[in-house]
C-alpha cells in the first residue's frame, strides 16, 4: 500500500464544545491505483486530505490514528521531513485554479519553482525550462512557450486547470490528491481535463486520490471508491461494483438521488440532515436518516465484507443476509405534463421494506 490511513480520528474544540468530525477513517491507496472518495458537503472528505498533508494544527485539531505513506507514519514525522514529502512525493490538485495559482507570477515562474524542488537536486536552468515545456505539452496545452510567459489571468479556466495538473505532475509524485478537479468548469471542458489527467497518471503509474461529490466523475475516473458519511467510511468497493450493487443504505440513497438521463423524474433525495458533530448520534451516524434503522444501530456499525474488496459498515450485513440489490428507491417526482397530474402519484413511497436474500 502506498497510502494507508488507519483509524483516523480528528476532533476540534470550539466555543460550543468538542466536535468529533472524523470518526475512525480507514482508507488505502495502492501503487498505480485511482481511488475515489465521495461524500456530500461537510462529510469530512477534505478534512481527511488536510490530515494527510499535515495541514491541521495540532493544538486546535486533535488527531488520533496513523497515516502511513510509503512506509512512514506521516503523523509521527517531524515537520521538516513532512515538508520534503509534500509537493514531491504527494502532490495536490485544487478545485479552483485561480485561487491556487499566484496571480503576480507567470506560469513559467511557478512551474520552475516546483522543478527546482525536484528530488535529486536542482536541474540547470535550461533543463528546467525544457522540462516545464514538456509537461505543458503533456497536458495538451497549445503553444507551451507562450504559456510559460503568461500570467494566470491571461489563461482560460480550462487552461489554468491544465497548468495545475502540470504543476502537480511535473516532479512525478507517487501520489496525487485531486480535490474536485474541474468541477468549477463546464462539462465539455471538465471531460477534457479528466481525460488528460487519466492518461497522464496511467502513463506514469501515479496513484490518485480523487475527492469529489460528483458520482458520475468518480465512475468514469477511478478503480475503487470510498463513500464517506459524517466522518466515517460507509462503504468501499471496486467502482463498477459500487455503482451496480451499492449495499450501504446511504450509498443507495445517494445514488438514487442523482437525476438520471432516463428521465423518470427527479428523485426525492434523502430525508433529514447530516448530524451535528458536537453531538453525533451514538453508533451508526446515518441511523437517524436510515429507513432500515434498528436498535442495534445504537452500537458502532460492524465492518462487513460482502464481496471481493467490497466492505460495508452496516448491521444489515453482519448476519450474512443483505437487503436486495434492488434499491428501495423512493418514487421519483412525476414530470409536470400539463394535463392535470394526479396528486396521489407524487407521494414518496420510501417505506418499502428491505427484502432479504440468503
Amino acid at each position: 500500500m502506498l497510502l494507508d490511513i488507519r483509524n483516523l480520528h480528528v476532533s476540534f474544540t470550539g466555543y460550543r464544545g468538542h466536535s468529533r468530525v472524523l470518526n475512525g477513517v480507514n482508507l488505502t491507496v495502492g501503487r498505480g491505483e485511482k481511488v475515489g472518495l465521495v461524500g456530500e458537503t461537510g462529510c469530512g472528505k477534505s478534512l481527511t486530505v488536510r490530515a494527510v498533508l499535515g495541514l491541521l494544527q495540532p493544538p486546535r485539531a486533535r488527531i488520533r490514528g496513523e497515516i502511513w505513506f510509503a512506509g512512514r507514519n506521516l503523523l509521527a514525522l517531524p515537520p521538516g521531513e513532512l515538508q520534503q514529502i509534500r509537493g514531491r512525493e504527494i502532490a495536490m490538485i485544487f478545485q479552483d485554479p485561480m485561487a491556487a495559482l499566484n496571480p503576480v507570477f507567470t506560469v513559467g515562474d511557478q512551474l520552475l519553482d516546483i522543478i527546482a524542488r525536484r528530488p535529486g537536486g536542482r536541474p540547470s536552468e535550461r533543463a528546467a525550462w525544457a522540462r516545464a515545456v514538456d509537461i505543458l505539452k503533456e497536458v495538451a496545452l497549445p503553444d507551451p512557450e507562450r504559456i510559460m510567459r503568461a500570467y494566470p489571468v491571461q489563461l482560460s479556466g480550462g487552461m489554468r486547470q491544465r497548468v495545475l495538473i502540470a504543476m502537480a505532475l511535473v516532479n512525478e509524485p507517487a501520489l496525487v490528491i485531486a480535490d474536485e478537479p474541474g468541477t468549477a468548469l463546464d462539462v465539455t471542458i471538465q471531460e477534457q481535463i479528466l481525460q488528460v489527467m487519466r492518461s497522464l497518471v496511467d502513463a506514469k503509474r501515479t496513484s490518485v486520490l480523487l475527492i469529489t461529490h460528483n458520482l458520475g466523475v468518480v465512475r468514469q475516473t477511478t478503480d475503487r471508491v470510498y463513500v464517506m458519511y459524517a466522518g466515517s467510511i460507509a462503504e468501499t468497493a471496486p467502482t463498477a461494483d459500487l455503482f451496480s450493487a451499492p449495499q450501504h443504505p446511504y450509498t443507495q440513497g445517494l445514488l438514487a438521488s442523482v437525476p438520471k438521463l432516463t428521465g423518470e423524474g427527479v428523485p426525492r433525495g434523502i430525508d433529514g440532515m447530516i448530524p451535528d458533530y458536537l453531538n453525533p448520534p451514538p453508533g451508526c451516524r446515518f441511523a437517524p436518516r436510515c429507513q432500515f434503522a434498528q436498535p442495534r444501530c445504537q452500537q458502532p456499525p460492524p465492518w462487513v465484507r460482502v464481496g471481493a474488496e467490497h466492505d460495508v459498515a452496516c448491521v444489515l450485513y453482519d448476519d450474512g443476509s443483505r437487503p436486495s440489490a434492488e434499491r428501495a428507491a423512493p418514487s421519483p417526482i412525476p414530470l409536470p405534463t400539463g394535463e392535470g397530474t394526479d396528486e396521489a402519484s407524487g407521494l414518496p413511497s420510501n417505506t418499502a421494506p428491505a427484502v432479504t436474500r440468503p
Binding site: M159, I189, S244, L261, I333, P336
Partner: protein, 342 residues
C-alpha cells in the same frame, strides 16, 4: 397551443467595451445575439449552455436588470423590453420573480427570515398592517414547507436547502405567474436537490407558475423541463421538447454536450449520443468567430460554416435547430455573408 405567456423576438444584448481616458468604444461583447422563443403558461422552459453562453444575461434582461439593445419581449400584451412600460405597469414587476443560485449570498445576512419576506410585501403594498404582514409571512413559510418559527432565524442558522426555501418564499411573496430559476439547486447536495425540485414542481402545479429553468446540469434538465433550449455564444443552437432533444439531438454542439455528461449507470451511458471528443473551449463573446460561431469546435464543420451564419429552421415539428447540416438553415449566399465585424 395556448397563447404564450412570454414571447421573445430577436432579443439582443450587447455590451460595449470601452477603454482609455475618453472611454472610446473599442469592441462589443455580444452576450445575447438574437434570441427568439415563446413560453407557454404552466411549462418549465429549460435553458442550458456553458459559461459565457449568455443564459444569465438573457435572464437578467428578462428581469429588467438590463435594457435589451434590440428586440422585444412580449408579456401579457406589453413589450417589457421598454423600461418605460415596466415602470408604468407595476403588475409586471410583481408577476416576474427570480430565484438565484446561491442562497448564501442572495439573502441579506443581517435580516431575519421575516424581515426578508416582508420586503417584497412592503414594496408592492401587499400588506398594510404588521398583523397582515405576519399572516402572509407565515403563509409563505408554510408554502415552502418551513415551520413558522423559522421567521425569527437569520440565514446563517439555516442549512443550504432551508435558505433556498426562504429564497423561493421571497420570490412567491408577490404572487408571481412567472419565475426565473437561475441554477436553483447547483449549490446544494444531491440528496437535498431532490427536495427543492419537488417543492418547485409542487408549487408550479398549485399556483400555475411558469418557469424559466437555467442549469448546466443536463441530467437534471432532462427531468424538470418540458422544453429545452441550448444556447451557445448568445444564440440558440437548438430548441426542442425535452424527450426529443435528449433522444435525437440534432445540433453537433448539443451532441457534444450530451456525450460529455458524467452519468452513474450503464443504462444512462447507452442513452448518450455517440462519443464526441470535446474540442477547445467556448471563445469569448467579445471575439465571436465568423459564420457559425461553433465551427472552430465542430466535428462536422464544412466549407460553408466559417462563411455563413445559419438561421433557425424547424426540422421535425417543433424541433428547431440552427446548423448548416439541416435543410432550411443556410441563408441564400450573399444576404448575410459578411462575417460579424465590429
Amino acid at each position: 397551443m395556448s397563447e404564450p405567456l412570454l414571447r421573445l423576438v430577436d432579443v439582443v444584448k450587447h455590451f460595449p467595451i470601452r477603454t482609455g481616458f475618453l472611454m472610446r468604444q473599442v469592441g462589443v461583447i455580444k452576450a445575447v445575439d438574437g434570441v427568439s422563443f415563446a413560453l407557454h403558461p404552466g411549462e418549465t422552459f429549460g435553458l442550458v449552455g456553458e459559461s459565457g453562453s449568455g443564459k444569465t444575461t438573457l435572464a437578467m434582461t428578462l428581469l429588467g436588470a438590463y435594457r435589451p439593445t434590440a428586440g422585444s419581449m412580449w408579456f401579457r400584451g406589453y413589450d417589457i423590453a421598454d423600461p418605460e412600460v415596466r415602470r408604468g405597469v407595476p403588475a409586471i414587476k410583481k408577476a416576474i420573480q427570480v430565484v438565484f443560485q446561491d442562497p448564501g449570498s442572495s439573502l441579506n445576512p443581517r435580516r431575519t427570515v421575516r424581515q426578508t419576506l416582508e420586503v417584497p410585501l412592503r414594496v408592492h403594498g401587499l400588506a398594510h398592517t404588521s398583523a397582515e404582514a405576519l399572516r402572509r409571512v407565515t403563509a409563505l413559510l408554510e408554502m415552502v414547507e418551513l415551520p413558522p418559527e423559522f421567521m425569527h432565524a437569520f440565514p446563517h442558522a439555516l442549512s443550504g436547502g432551508q435558505k433556498q426555501r426562504v429564497a423561493i418564499a421571497r420570490a412567491l411573496a408577490t404572487e408571481p405567474s412567472f419565475l426565473v430559476l437561475d441554477e436553483p439547486t447547483s449549490a446544494l447536495d444531491v440528496s437535498v436537490q431532490g427536495k427543492i425540485i419537488a417543492l418547485l414542481v409542487d408549487l408550479q402545479r398549485r399556483l400555475n407558475l411558469t418557469y424559466l429553468f437555467i442549469t448546466h446540469d443536463l441530467s437534471l434538465m432532462r427531468n424538470v423541463a418540458t422544453r429545452v433550449a441550448v444556447m451557445y455564444l448568445g444564440k440558440l443552437a437548438e430548441l426542442a421538447a425535452t424527450p426529443a432533444l435528449f433522444s435525437a439531438p440534432r445540433h453537433p454542439y448539443t451532441r457534444m454536450l450530451l456525450s460529455a455528461i458524467p452519468v452513474v449507470s450503464e443504462e444512462e451511458e447507452r442513452l448518450k449520443p455517440r462519443w464526441i471528443v470535446p474540442r477547445g473551449e467556448t471563445p469569448s463573446p467579445a471575439r465571436v468567430p465568423p459564420g457559425c460561431s461553433f465551427h472552430p469546435r465542430c466535428p462536422d464543420a464544412f466549407d460553408v460554416c466559417p462563411r455563413l451564419d445559419p438561421v433557425a429552421a424547424a426540422v421535425d415539428g417543433d424541433h428547431r435547430v440552427r446548423c448548416h447540416l439541416y435543410p432550411g438553415c443556410t441563408p441564400a449566399e450573399g444576404t448575410d455573408a459578411a462575417p460579424a465585424r465590429h
